[in-house]
Symmetry: C2
Subunit: 214 residues, 2 copies
Amino acid sequence: MYTDNKNKHIPKISIQRLAVYLQVLESLDVDGVEVITSEPLAKACDVNASQIRKDLTYFGEFGVRGVGYNVKSLMASISEALGINREWPTVLVGAGNLGRSLVGHNGFKQTRFKIVGVFDCDPFKIGEEIAGLEVVCTQRLKEKIADLKVEIGIIATPPERAQRAANHLVSAGIKGILNFAPARIFVPTYVNVEYVDYFHYLYSLAFQITHDKR
Amino acid sequence: MYTDNKNKHIPKISIQRLAVYLQVLESLDVDGVEVITSEPLAKACDVNASQIRKDLTYFGEFGVRGVGYNVKSLMASISEALGINREWPTVLVGAGNLGRSLVGHNGFKQTRFKIVGVFDCDPFKIGEEIAGLEVVCTQRLKEKIADLKVEIGIIATPPERAQRAANHLVSAGIKGILNFAPARIFVPTYVNVEYVDYFHYLYSLAFQITHDKR
């Protein structure tokens, strides 16, 4: 079972791996798999088995030696540990091309994260409708967030507007920011920030291709 | 110096960290920092100092005890090791909202990855111009890729078209695919695939916010 105490010092990188495990488990569950041992689970997750076992010890013991993990109960435990066993309404700042593609992203249909508000400061975009959501002036973030009980904000603005978007989100009381803009943002320490940086993946591909040739 | 032998078994996760170190070093370099010890470097990279030292040993020793790492030479070594000390022309399949936002992404101006071709199978998009690139029919990928000496393809199609895009890229001789579509793709083992999944980051934020409250 999830115990708060054990969670105190989980490295961030383990959290990201837990998210991968969860997604793999979800697809196993859809395929009707009920029990899985750490080796095939590790293979499907592209990590080694000892890593999986180690990551899962942060949350207590789930696996039965020689039998494996129960897929559904492991999913439930990881969801609970990650805090995603409930809905997470989020708001999006930036109704440009990236913002539009995010609103339409399948993940928001398939997970418990939902985009419930879209904001932009461009008067030409305000009032427009994107997938059933009306684009609202960024100045109104505070009032809207209070209504919607939102804790996570997504920034999909051009880089030069990212800090202003962050300021609006922070003063509206947001607790976490997912920043797609290729710019560092500065927020109080109680606000969590994650940066989405595609270029890490390109670096990784470049490395693999270069290495394959050698 | 970079030695091929040492690189054989670098875990993928270290490659991603190296990409982070490189970006941090680049911004230190811009700020005029010439030498840095592992502790402040680790802090800027959001990992621990022993992790950095361990990751860098894969590439041989760079740091001088009590002095630190020379920023420029460490950048050069990581770039060489990652294989990004040269241009990487890439092509994009999918000229929708996400594709458009990628073509305009600052990273393609600031790094040595360049989008040199945009493809789509939608007759309404073919012939359109996006940031100076004409959208070309996906059927013509093979001929274009040979001309452009491209090894990396980016998929930004809807999920149901991702596999077809991958097939076109593979038969055109691409070596690596960055897949933004929320769908698994199946390719021969000699083709490297990276998936961009935003939801990992949302999971991580949810965990942090949940944990902060406890």
